[in-house]
């Protein structure tokens, strides 16, 4: 103290994780197989990857004994589809200027995001076992200064979409053709900042922006419709100027179609109807699994349901 020092304990302090190049290579091979496959095979491969991501979520939350498992499981197909078939990214060069941007606005679903990033090779999958451990890079909410592939720090709700709007404007100003994807929770759409941002996205005709709402119809304490009703959500988004695509958020073929570029010159809003806790029968559509932690027996049962080989 008493000297003029750079902030050493703040967001820039500590170590940034680095890529696992072997894993990047495996991820690239997997992307190649998916790109070369016909449509049903693509869907099968991505579904398989989503189930693998779900198993990673369960293990990650089990090791931390904390997390937001319900929303992690509802968003898994969305993440698997984006990371394996849509996003133009290079995990070995995470700050490449001409990359697509992905923002997980529902930052509490960090275990799913970290699993997707690790499986893409942004950092070693072994790091997932440090989730929320003391001084881990893998905080309960993502920090871009510690975790490559994280574009902006999220956690407080209603933050990701405004930043995505800025990225979409910035990319367009620089003549880049990259796209920006942002996933929000549905409860999060109760935040006014999201609607400020949607108005801007429509006003600036940000055709390079895709909003994906993980519409699992449950928020922390209750159903969205019993709390502060969002419906008719697709109509509301359309009225605000979005090109709306309402789909089954667990159907990979529908996700792939919905993630196609805008056809209207307007921002795309994908309302992905999902099931909170998807894939684990005793968690599905049950409000208590927002952030309940499974017991050892429940972990085993969940992994079995998610296709873990014995």
């Amino acid at each position: 103290m008493h000297t003029l020092i750079e902030n050493t304990t703040g967001p820039m302090g500590g170590t940034m994780l680095t890529a696992d190049l072997d894993q990047v290579a495996r991820w690239q091979q997997e992307r190649g197989r998916i790109a070369a496959a016909d449509e049903p095979e693509q869907a099968r491969l991505i579904h398989e990857a989503a189930q693998r991501l779900r198993r990673s979520v369960v293990r990650t939350i089990d090791s931390a004994r904390a997390g937001h498992i319900g929303g992690d499981l509802s968003v898994s197909d969305i993440l698997a589809t984006l990371y394996l078939a849509v996003l133009d990214i290079d995990p070995a060069d995470p700050s490449r200027p001409d990359r697509d941007r992905f923002i997980m606005s529902k930052g509490h679903c960090a275990a799913a995001l970290y699993s997707a990033l690790a499986q893409s090779g942004y950092f070693p999958t072994a790091e997932l076992s440090t989730f929320m451990a003391p001084f881990s890079a893998l905080n309960g909410h993502p920090n871009r200064n510690k975790v490559p592939g994280v574009e902006t720090n999220t956690g407080p709700l209603g933050h990701g979409l405004p930043v995505a709007v800025g990225q979409a404007i910035g990319l367009r100003l620089q003549g880049r053709s990259n796209r920006v994807f942002v996933v929000t929770g549905d409860g999060e759409m109760q935040e006014g900042s999201n609607w400020e941002a949607i108005m801007s996205a429509a006003h600036y005709r940000l055709a390079n922006l895709t909003l994906v709402v993980d519409r699992n119809r449950l928020q922390q304490g209750a159903r969205t419709e019993d709390t502060n009703a969002l419906d008719p959500l697709p109509e509301r988004l359309a009225a605000f100027g979005c090109e709306v695509r309402e789909i089954d958020g667990h159907d990979v073929t529908q996700l792939l179609t919905a993630f196609a570029p805008s056809t209207s010159g307007r921002p795309v809003a994908v309302v992905a109807n999902t099931i909170k806790g998807k894939g684990v029968s005793f968690m599905e559509d049950r409000v208590e699994w927002h952030h309940k932690v499974p017991t050892a027996e429940q972990v085993t049962a969940a992994l079995t349901e998610l296709g873990e080989s014995a």
Binding site: P11, T152, N153, L161, P162, G166, G170, Q174, M199, Y204
Partner: protein, 320 residues
């Protein structure tokens, strides 16, 4: 630093800001401006004429404005995000915290017409909490330029090394307190006038008043050291501690709330070192009544006469 008699006339920092922003933008196409319907109040009309695509007006939506700024910065641009001080800090504090400071997106937040510049419009439009709020955020620089020259220098320094920053841009005319050619260095507080009886640490609009007070004190045979605290975060602890050790009283003057502002920072620093010098903080302690900027500065004792009175009393209490 010059010690010319401050005058009632002067130059407003907002005009310097607008001119400098356009000049910087001509030379560097990374520079963009973002505002909340405040093209007029942020003095961005000419910028919009010259760079229509590089002015992003998000309308009356400050949370979105700051988030958009963070997104622009993350693509490699240098956004100057402009809004009236009370709203860019108060309405969007969480965006400043999460999207700018914690995320470390190099956004330059410009609080227009800060302090009590809006006078009779009242406490809703006064930005006197901004220094406390913004100083509490790690990783965010805080700059309060005292004149047009420091305004330009701060902007140039930030374009040379973009970093998350909140800076105040005043709307009222203030006298020049620095010379062209004086340099503003990040994290360094300039000693405007040497002295060893009392130290006056002033920021922004109070610097010219502190300089005038030092002249009045000199006439009474007291030598006052005046510090122009423009770059407040990171804080130049060495210069402040040297002033506290070299004098017998410290007066801090800011057009801001005393709770958590510069005065609080100085008191915490000096007390932490066990330096037995009295630190008196001049600023606001309550919501302002109706009145012009000048009247309110007078009301809260933010005048050269009151700085002299407080400094003299502090020295007497010390048994000087």
């Amino acid at each position: 630093m010059r010690v010319d008699e401050p005058t009632a006339t002067g130059y407003d920092n907002r005009t310097a800001f607008a001119e400098e922003l356009a000049a910087l933008a001509r030379a560097d196409d990374r520079i963009v401006a973002v505002c909340n319907d405040s093209v007029g109040s942020s003095n961005l009309g000419a910028f919009r004429e010259e760079f229509p695509d590089r002015l992003i007006n998000v309308g009356i939506a400050e949370q979105n404005m700051v988030g958009v700024g963070a997104g622009l910065a993350s693509t490699g641009l240098i956004p100057f995000v402009c809004g009236a001080g009370p709203f860019i800090t108060g309405r969007s504090t969480e965006q400043v915290k999460a999207d700018v400071a914690y995320s470390q997106h190099p956004v330059i937040l410009c609080g227009m017409s800060p302090g009590m510049a809006y006078g009779e419009l009242g406490p809703t439009h006064h930005s006197v909490e901004d220094l406390s709020w913004m100083r509490a955020l790690p990783g965010l620089d805080l700059i309060v330029p005292a004149d047009r020259q420091q305004t330009r220098q701060a902007m140039r320094a930030l374009v040379a090394e973009p970093r998350p920053t909140y800076m105040r841009i005043g709307r009222h005319k203030v006298p020049d307190v620095t010379n062209e050619g004086d340099t503003l260095v990040r994290g360094r507080i300039d000693v405007a006038v040497p002295g060893d009886d009392v130290a006056i640490i002033a920021t922004g609009t109070l610097v010219s008043r502190a300089l005038l007070a030092s002249r009045q004190l000199a006439e009474a045979g007291l030598s006052a050291r005046v510090l122009n605290a423009a770059w407040i975060s990171p804080l130049d602890e060495a210069t402040i501690l040297d002033a506290a050790r070299s004098t017998r009283a410290v007066v801090v003057a800011e057009e801001a709330n005393t709770a958590g502002g510069l005065g609080a920072a100085v008191a915490q620093l000096v007390a932490g070192q066990g330096i037995g010098v009295r630190v008196v903080s001049l600023g606001l302690t309550e919501f302002a009544p109706t009145g012009s900027n000048d009247l309110l500065l007078e009301h809260f004792g933010l005048t050269s006469d009151n700085i002299v009175r407080v400094a003299t009393n502090a020295l007497e209490a010390r048994g000087a």
